[in-house]
């Protein structure tokens, strides 16, 4: 049945590995003309990799890409994809923050040139914004860096749908609704239906299963780098879709986490921080030995709040007071975590150098012992701690960053969405480690974009636009509550 319709793109046998990690194994995927295809799967299932191959931002290790039935050569890239009418709206926004909305639009459209190109580009994007998001309120000459994250997402979406010389035939939307509020999200999905009806094609990923079920024609489910289901959307309901994705964390483990009794307020306060942009005096408060969750949509000031606490280590200021040393577990390994020229051992010991000094020099035996202890404790997969850190897979590099923080003298550990690229088994191990360390008196402040991870916390703060908008006790924590607070316009919980 699916073969009957004409295909805008078809991928066959797509394979892609990152070092030792196999992100995609022999995946087939096709998008029909006039079809909206939903792509779902857990984090790390390979959705983003597949999208990057299709958009031409990554080259596959093997497999064939056909666009409108024509096989593409090995040099298939962004430029070629663009010329063929394939546009991609990435999860990590790809607008240049120092340019205006109109100038960002020009980047897509070479034909906007000569006198008045800026005005033409502004007109082009304004019309598209009006069409997709009526009442958006975004001035086309505004600098992108000054826009809120949701507005930036709207510009990104509208830009992908604009047309000048080459037609837009397939638009890939990677988690487009995660940073849009409910109204704009609905506007976008409605527009997608209209676009598809007029003969365009869409590939949509979302963690909001309702969007996928309601707006897609067909749903492809991915798991562990492969496709596990490919059926018409009407054949799925919420339960069967969740079942197809594979409930990666077993019910029993989740129950075990939920049975941990939340502690709150029985020990002295060790961190008190009012976010810089907070309009009232609401503060994040952590007592010794607590695990505090920071939730909300990505990029709403959580990392900034963590850094604010980090900078205030051992100090008492008007808006932030932190008693004792602080260590940070970075989530963005490449820019915030890994010292790429160094061995695993040195990457672990860097936060604890003072404790390793004997007679003025760093004691090499003690350094190596520290690294080996943590290799056993959190099972860093390496034959030798003297190997370079880049010899490890991403998940194991992340374990090294955990070891760096947990092996230090810090009583307060900040975690900046640290589970990116970490597989499920490791996650559960780390959850248990965090729980054990908290019981031993360490305090954790844990920013996470995965709502289920909040089950590990004693108390949760939800942030939006740089402010704490909800303060949720463990007993009251539900997914709906967190999402609602993340999206609500105006007012506090």
């Amino acid at each position: 049945m699916l073969q009957a319709t004409e295909k805008i793109v078809s991928l066959s046998g797509m394979t892609k590995s990152f070092g030792a990690v196999r992100a995609l194994a022999n995946v087939d995927l096709a998008v029909g003309v006039g079809e909206c295809l939903g792509l779902v799967g857990h984090n790390g299932a390979g959705k983003s990799t597949l999208i990057n191959l299709l958009a031409g931002t990554l080259a596959p290790d093997g497999g064939e890409i056909r666009v409108s039935g024509v096989a593409q050569a090995a040099d298939y890239g962004v430029r070629r994809a663009g010329a063929l009418g394939i546009r991609c709206v990435f999860q990590e926004l790809s607008l240049c923050p120092n340019l205006s909305v109109a100038e960002n639009t020009r980047i897509y459209h070479k034909s906007l040139r000569g006198w008045g190109w800026r005005r033409n580009a502004a007109e082009l994007v304004r019309r598209k914004l009006d069409e997709v998001f009526p009442g958006h309120g975004i001035p086309p000459h505004a600098t992108v860096g000054d826009l809120l994250i949701g507005q930036r997402q709207m510009v990104e979406v509208a830009r992908a749908f604009t047309v000048t010389d080459s037609p837009t035939r397939l638009v890939i939307l990677d988690e487009p609704t995660s940073s849009l509020d409910a109204v704009a999200g609905k506007q976008l999905l409605t527009y997608v239906r209209r676009f598809v009806k007029e003969g365009g094609s869409c590939l949509l990923t979302s963690h909001l299963l309702g969007d996928i079920l309601d707006y897609c024609d067909r749903i492809v489910v991915m798991k562990d780098g492969g496709v596990v289901a490919d059926r018409s959307a009407v054949e799925f309901d919420r339960e069967s879709l969740v079942a197809a994705m594979g409930n990666v964390i077993s019910e029993a483990r989740i129950k075990a986490h939920e049975h941990v009794t939340a502690q709150r307020g029985e020990t002295p306060v060790v961190v008190r921080a009012v976010p810089k942009q907070q309009s009232d005096q609401t503060a994040l408060v952590a007592h010794k030995g607590e695990i505090i969750g920071l939730a909300g949509l990505a990029g709403h000031g959580q990392t900034r709040l963590l850094l604010q606490i980090y900078e205030a280590a051992g100090k008492t200021r008007a808006d932030t007071s932190v008693s004792g040393p602080v260590a940070l577990v970075a989530g963005d390994r490449q820019t915030d975590g890994v010292l790429h020229l160094w061995s695993i051992a040195r990457n672990i010991s860097v936060r604890s150098m003072r404790a390793l000094v004997k007679g003025g020099l760093i004691d090499r035996d003690a350094e190596s012992a520290l690294a080996k202890k943590w290799r056993e404790r959190i099972r860093i997969k390496t034959p030798d701690v003297e190997n370079n850190i880049l010899s490890l897979s991403g998940g194991n590099q992340q374990k090294v960053l955990f070891a760096r923080a947990l092996g230090s003298d810090a009583g307060i550990i900040l975690m900046d969405d640290p589970m990116r690229g970490v597989d499920v088994g490791t996650k559960l191990e780390v959850y248990e480690l965090i729980r054990a360390e908290a019981e031993a008196g360490r305090t954790f402040i844990w920013y996470t974009t995965e709502i289920e991870e909040l089950n590990n916390c004693d108390h949760v703060y939800v942030m939006r636009d740089g402010q704490i908008v909800a303060d949720v006790a463990r007993a009251d924590l539900t997914e709906e509550k967190v999402l609602q607070a993340s999206f609500r316009e105006g007012g506090r919980a």
Partner: protein, 316 residues
């Protein structure tokens, strides 16, 4: 070939020593074995000065892209003048003179760091502009007069033990100490971490500004010490005696296998490269190359060495 490259990758300083040896060999083949020993003695003598300032420059470059100390030549000139004036040709004042030249260096270093930190001027501009100021101070301070070193100081800087300059032995010990500081102290590790990624280093608890401050102070202090030693060695201070050390320090750092992108430093390589640079010029002189040819060849050979040493391969 690949195995060789891998081995060189582990020990990049081997290349600079191999280069120095090859150049030496090429020269004595030409002279049919005459003057080989004297050449080594001379190379050790002159390389000593390059090594002292080169190590300071190495620490600066290791703190990451954009970090370089361009004030070394003027600091050498100023500190040489200060040392000679304070020693005043008297043996009893040698130690005061040495303290004073290091003090002058520290003052320049503090000024450099203040420009970089407080006024947020890029290091390349900060040290370049401070070098102009320092040179003016040196000119007005010494009024261009050459002062002779105290006899004992001159003797010490030119003394040899069976053909090996005493100063070179000191500089070898100095290099060993600096290598230990680099690899085994909190300051050294901090410097290496900053050079890889300042943000990561800061988030890993490294005291970034402290390490950077020490580095600029150290580089200038070494230049100050070098100024006094050079003045002793060459029978008096001169305003232009630091001139050649601007390019020389950067060249020995790079040829010696230190990463220009920061985060990876190599102390033995500084010695190998300093010997190589001196022997290279000697070889070209022996071959009777004219000044023009000599400069062109020196440039080309340095480029070849850096290419061989691998420069900076992206680690990913």
């Amino acid at each position: 070939m690949n195995a060789l490259a891998a081995r060189l990758g582990n020990k990049p300083w081997l290349l600079s020593f191999a280069g120095a040896f090859a150049v030496w060999l090429a020269t004595i083949l030409f002279t049919e074995g005459k003057g080989g020993g004297e050449m080594i003695t001379a190379a050790l003598s002159f390389a000593t000065f390059t090594v002292i300032v080169g190590i300071g420059q190495m620490f600066v470059i290791t703190t990451g892209p954009g970090n370089v100390d361009l004030s070394i030549p003027s600091t050498i000139a100023l500190a040489g003048g200060v040392a000679m004036k304070i020693m005043g040709g008297q043996d009893s004042l040698i130690w005061f003179g040495l303290l004073a030249c290091i003090g002058a260096g520290l003052a320049v270093g503090a000024f450099n760091y203040a420009l970089i930190r407080l006024l947020k001027i890029p290091p390349i501009i900060a040290t370049l502009s401070s070098s102009l100021i320092v040179m003016s101070v040196a000119i007005s301070y010494g009024r261009g007069l050459q002062i002779k070193p105290p006899p004992s100081f001159a003797d010490f800087t030119t003394a040899q033990i069976s053909g090996v300059p005493v100063l070179s032995i000191c500089a070898i010990l100095f290099a060993i100490a600096m290598a230990i500081i680099l690899e085994r102290t909190i300051y050294g590790r901090a410097t290496l971490a900053i050079g890889q990624n300042v943000r990561v280093a800061h988030l890993a608890g490294v005291k970034v500004e402290r390490a950077r401050c020490i580095t600029y102070l150290m580089s200038a202090a070494f230049a100050g010490l070098c100024g006094a030693l050079l003045a002793g060695f060459s029978g008096g201070n001169a305003l232009n005696m630091g001139e050649e050390y601007l390019l020389a320090t950067i060249a020995v750092v790079v040829i010696g296998g230190t990463s220009v992108a920061g985060g990876r430093a190599n102390v033995p390589g500084i010695w190998g490269a300093a010997l190589f640079l001196y022997l290279l010029v000697t070889m070209l002189n022996t071959y009777g190359a004219s000044a023009g040819i000599r400069l062109v060849l020196t440039g080309l050979i340095i480029i070849a060495m850096i290419t061989l040493a691998g420069g900076d391969k992206p680690s990913r």
